[in-house]
Amino acid sequence: MRQLAGKRFELLNAIRTEYDAGRRGAELKPLMVEGKRTMDEIRALVATLDQEEARVYDLRQDQALSQWRWTMLFFVGGALAFLLIVGALWIQRRDADVQRQRAEDVARARELFSIVLQGVDMGITVQDAAGRLVYANEAAARIIGYGSPEELLTASVTEVMGRFDVLNFDGTPFPLEQMPNRAALEGKASSELPLRFRVRGTREERWSLVRAVPSHDVSGKKVLHVINFFREVTEEIRDNHQRSFLLRAVDELNSSLDYEKTLSAVARLAVPTLADWCAIDLAAGDRTKRVAIAHVDPEKLAFVEALERRYPPDPAGKTGVPQILRTGKHEFIAEIPRELLLAAAVDADHLRLIDELQLCSYIGVPLTVRSKTIGAITFAMAESARRYTEKDLEFAQALADRAALAIDNARLFREAEQARAVATAQRDQTEERFRLMIESVRDYAIFMLDPNGLVATWNIGAQLIKGYRPDEIIGQHFSRFYPDYAARSGDCQRKLEIAARVGRFEDEGWRVRKDGSRFWASVIITPITDAQGRLKGFAKITRDLSERKRNEEALAAEELRRKEAENESQFAQTFIGILGHDLRNPLNAIIMAATLMKKKANGNDTKTIDRVLSSSSRMTNMVAQLLDLTRSRLAGGISVEKKPGDLSALITGIVDELRLAFPGRDIRWENRGQEHGSWDQERLAQVCSNLVGNALQHGDATKAVTVRLLPAGRDSVALSVHSHGHPISSDLLPVIFEPYRRNTANAERSKGLGLGLFITHQIVEAHGGDIDVRSTAEEGTTFTATLPRSLRETVAEEPRLVS
């Protein structure tokens, strides 16, 4: 007894250990279903779990082995004890006290035994040698699909066996003759078999590890009982299924951002393991959009599609997806009541079609993203007649949460992608516009250099200014734009270095075009850096300043001319100074000295002195003429100072003087003009002497020279000088008033500079008049100066002498 009690205790311990191990496994599971784990984490966890499970399994195997051994001993022992007790009862019948005592012990043992067995989670049945069930605990009744052990024990074997189908774990039918109890009835111990019991009514499935152990009589030859052990692993299997399903679903959901595609895959995964039907709908405004529906049978899919086309789901429906979308709450109908279908059916035809689907159990879970319901997943059981449990609901929600997360991620990613695409498009557009703008600039060469100074871009302006086509110059070093000396001296590289250091380099200088011609350019080099401040290259803007340069050069030339003119004027002033003062002063001294000598000679030989005086006089004239030429050509013209005066008196004086000077000549003076006017008397005296002197010099010496003063119009007079003799040659006639034009025929007779007529012309023009010449062999030569009388002109102060 004592030994027996010890064994019993050990058995209880073993059961508790087993139980704890199971619980430990169960504790680990919730971790796995906890949402929002990355795949890697989940995989790592799964790996850990698998290891843990493997360990637990090994442990269980070991324990099971020892348990079986112990259990066997226990039951064998138990059976032996039972027989012993029975035997003892018979032996000790006579000893009532002992008998009573022993009966009490047995009753107590039975009670204890029964309590223990009923409390054990493992299904245990005992069959007698005929195969009849003689014992079953509660777990056994439940596993086989009965409400209580009594129910099970009163049922016939056929009934029990007809209650469920026995299948292998993979779903294939398990042959009943291979059931472990059959072998045990023949005295053979079996190994533990994994079996799936599908209750025929509910099609609920339970997975168990089944083992049967024979119990022999004392001889050990005859099997008296068979003890069956059912260790139920339904929960574990379901968890396993769901876990692996979830893993595959998450894998599927993460496989692509095309969530409509991945949701379809998930729906397909769900059937038929988790549902006969699986549909996924997403909210689309006020309506719903079916993104996935799955069933193993394509014909059924087509059937539903047709059904839903004919009877579209009511958006205001009180059950189903619209309701889930409205409330965000799941729906769970373990057993779909007939009334529900009746209520859902629009008409008899509809009901008939719905009935055809054989829907029996239903779970609808919301797809919730950031507290917003975006859709629903519907699972339904139909022809398989399986029923959903709360466990399935939990699982369905876990799956929906993962799917919702995946949809949200995909949508966020899509939005980000779209935003990025839009931004990129906009940036590209901006850049493109900017590029086009730069490229179309014609007046500036705008191009980029890489950090080493190689040309990277080339606009039309660059092409026009420098002459290179883009394909000719891109990739070339920019030093080729510089004249040799600059390129050789490393000047170019220095410019880049300065630009990189200072942030800008500006320069003006000569650059070389493709054809080798040079142009004056303004250049700005700006370094281009990226966001990190790394040098990416340089922007170079070159402007052709040749036009400006030309303008500047023109200005400089103008300035030079002005300076030259100034210098010329300066020179003229200096020259006039020399002629007017420096030459005439000594000439004055010579003439005065010679005059003095002549006076002192007192009528004696004065020929030499006369020659000095004559030459001095000629020189005086020449100086005067040079002075006039200088004034007219270099110093802005001969100036005249008009004063009111009598022109005829002036001419009379001159004619008188000339008559004295040329006593052998006939000089006639005919005054028929208006003599009063405003004149520069001295200058007009010069005109008169020049013209008469000219006539005397070049005209026929035997004939008269005639001076006439005639009216010419109302306000002018004409002073003419006529002479006979050779006419002026026709070559000379048009240019006779230009300086240094001499009548070459009479060159040897000329003692002047050839400036007389030029100066005469200048003086007449300065008076606002004109001079003309007519010269023929018949009529002789006539110079006519027409002079305005200018009577209204201001009267200058008269010189006066104090009397």
Partner: protein
């Protein structure tokens, strides 16, 4: 050729050759001739000499003819003296004066001098 001892002609001329020739010519005409080599000297002696005419060169060192004329004008003496400007740059001569351009036309100059002395 008549002597005119009371009539002093003042020749203001920096160039010696011209000055001395002119002086001798005027003396041959019978005038008392005094000379000054610049405007400053002439100004100093003008009141004392009381010349009947002053033949004044313009371009001279120390004080030129223009400065001297300005001085005479500013001290009110300009109207008291007959002044004939003898210059090689007649165009630069101040207006309102009788001007003889060098080389001097001696006949005309003598006539002008004779008119006032």
């Amino acid at each position: 050729m008549t002597m005119k001892p009371d009539s002093v002609v003042l020749v203001v001329e920096d160039e010696e050759d011209s000055r001395e020739s002119l002086r001798e010519l005027l003396e041959l005409e019978g005038y008392m001739v005094q000379t000054a080599v610049n405007g400053k000297e002439a100004l100093e002696r003008l009141d004392a000499l009381e010349p009947c005419v002053m033949l004044l060169d313009l371009c001279m060192p120390v004080m030129d003819g223009w400065q001297m004329l300005d001085q005479l004008r500013s001290d009110g003496r300009l109207g008291r003296f007959n002044i004939v400007i003898t210059t090689s740059a007649a165009y630069k001569a101040p207006p309102g004066h009788l001007v003889f351009e060098k080389p001097l036309d001696l006949n005309k100059l003598m006539r002008a001098v004779a008119a006032v002395c």
